[in-house]
């Protein structure tokens, strides 16, 4: 298989990229890691007249933390997030998601920004960004704007990105208090699309038995037309301690928010129940990582958080 013919440019600067998109954005596609776009080109599901390869543009890679914001630049690869061990625990939702994306070879090329702009309903980063309340920075010759992830994801393979815009980075708020999170994914085999995946991110305030949930983010992957934010479940957690009963109620509300379809990977009922179980496990792990140590975690059945080495740290 090979793609339909296209023009190809690999600009050296951001200004060149934005000028090209301003001129030919309607008929162009931006190429980052290419791990979703190139298969689409080969299958002729997409046939843009122009590919703008941003692989040579400086300043688009890396993860930074300052002024209460975690910034993930658009061309940061999945493997780079997997290797960013300082995200462990407090930003476990990112660190656990990365190694579950496709396979190691794809993660060596594929990028966070590319995946978000592709907006596959089964793409992992959408749910993660919904859980963390991230903002997308979109730049064009007209200027720069920030779009919240809930407004960015609009439908299957559809985002708020205008044809002349480039996603340059993703900004994740770093709240006060203790944070913890995880990403749980069910897939038939390595490299398959998610049957169901769940992103969980919690903020706890106050210590010991007085700790209360000050912030809660729950993103659901592959159970709707795009990644979904389980807002009722999130709201049910606020101001309460992460006890087994509170977590179980949130898990039921999250399952109710899912709208899965029956397909080769499972029935809608099955997927909805996996959402419930994964949100329950995920919230228990997230609370523990945020410093909650009040009795046994609810119904983990010996389950530990994902990660090579298995300690889930």
């Amino acid at each position: 298989m090979f793609p339909a013919a296209f023009d190809y440019v690999a600009p050296q600067t951001m200004d060149e990229v934005l000028a090209l998109l301003a001129e030919r954005g309607d008929e162009a596609k931006v190429l980052a890691g290419g791990q979703s776009l190139i298969p689409l080109l080969k299958l002729r599901f997409a046939s843009p007249a122009l590919l703008v390869d941003i692989g040579r543009v400086p300043g688009l890679t890396g993860i930074g933390r300052d002024n209460g914001t975690l910034t993930v630049r658009a061309r940061t690869r999945h493997i780079d997030v997997e290797a960013a061990h300082d995200l462990r625990g407090s930003f476990g939702v990112l660190h656990d998601a990365a190694p579950q994306i496709s396979d190691p070879l794809i993660r060596n090329m594929g990028t966070v920004g590319g995946s978000l702009c592709h907006a596959d309903p089964a793409g992992d980063w959408g749910a993660v960004m919904l859980a963390t309340g991230a903002e997308m920075t979109l730049r064009s010759v007209r200027g720069e704007r920030r779009v919240h992830i809930t407004d960015f994801l609009q439908g299957p393979f559809t985002t708020a990105l205008e044809p002349d815009e480039l996603l340059t980075d993703v900004r994740i708020p770093v709240p006060g208090g203790q944070t913890g999170g995880t990403y749980l994914k069910l897939e038939r085999k390595v490299g398959d699309f998610a049957t169901v995946a769940v992103a969980v991110h919690l903020v706890l305030e106050g210590g010991g038995g007085d700790a209360r949930i000050a912030g809660a983010g729950i993103g659901l992957c592959a159970v709707g037309p795009h990644s979904l934010k389980a807002t009722d479940a999130e709201a049910s957690l606020l101001g309460r301690p992460p006890t087994a009963e509170v977590i179980a109620e949130a898990a039921r509300l999250a399952a109710a928010a899912a709208s899965p379809k029956s397909d080769v990977r499972g029935s809608a009922d099955y997927k909805r129940d996996v959402v419930r179980i994964f949100v329950e496990r995920g919230l228990a792990i997230a609370a523990e990582r945020a410093g909650w140590h009040q009795g046994p975690s609810p119904r983990l059945w010996g389950f530990t958080a994902p990660g090579v080495g298995g300690d889930g740290a």
């Binding site: 296209f6 080969k42 390869d53 396979d103 060596n108 080495g309």
Partner: protein, 170 residues
């Protein structure tokens, strides 16, 4: 357009359409057919090459994307007429049956050992999780990669292994 890449240490240049996939560039323009086309849909890893030392799927890259960069194919593993320790270990451990996935498996193994000189079984299984062996010979593939790491570590400290697979087949 003209694409220039360093392949197995030597600079190579050839004409290619922008839509030319790296795997096709390597096989048809450069004549290096050790890089296989398997699934052609980013799943199987038969087309694995190392891009600046890191394994990637060459069916899911454009040749144009790797302009100016360095590629290692399976043909680049053996140096000076002797097999790479990973190749020797695949031979000694029967790490292949039909051999179709073998170039990718060996390149992933070599790249892993480069980064992690003493990989556990879990590390090896993680590394090859994007490469499919449809003969399902994973047991011996994992064994071969770990044995190669052991051989390379032994060679590194100057010890002479009792039984060197490199010596057997070289």
């Amino acid at each position: 357009m003209r694409v220039t890449v360093t392949v197995n240490g030597a600079s190579q240049s050839a004409q290619a359409e922008p839509r030319t996939l790296l795997v096709d560039f390597i096989r048809t323009r450069l004549g290096l057919t050790g890089t296989h086309v398997g699934c052609d849909t980013s799943n199987c890893g038969a087309c694995t090459v190392l891009l600046d030392g890191v394994p990637v799927k060459s069916c899911t890259l454009l040749a144009a994307q790797v302009e100016g960069r360095s590629i290692t194919t399976v043909e680049g593993l053996a140096a000076g007429g002797s097999l790479h320790p990973v190749q020797a270990a695949f031979h000694a451990d029967h790490g292949l049956q039909c051999g179709f996935c073998t170039p990718g498996m060996m390149l992933v193994g070599a790249a892993l050992i480069q980064r992690n000189p003493d990989p556990s079984e879990a590390d090896v299984r993680w590394a090859i999780s994007g490469n499919i062996c449809r003969c399902t010979g994973y047991m011996n593939i994992v064994k071969a990669i770990r044995d190669a790491a052991g051989q390379m570590a032994a060679a590194e400290v100057g010890a002479t292994p009792a039984e060197s697979p490199t010596a057997e087949v070289a």
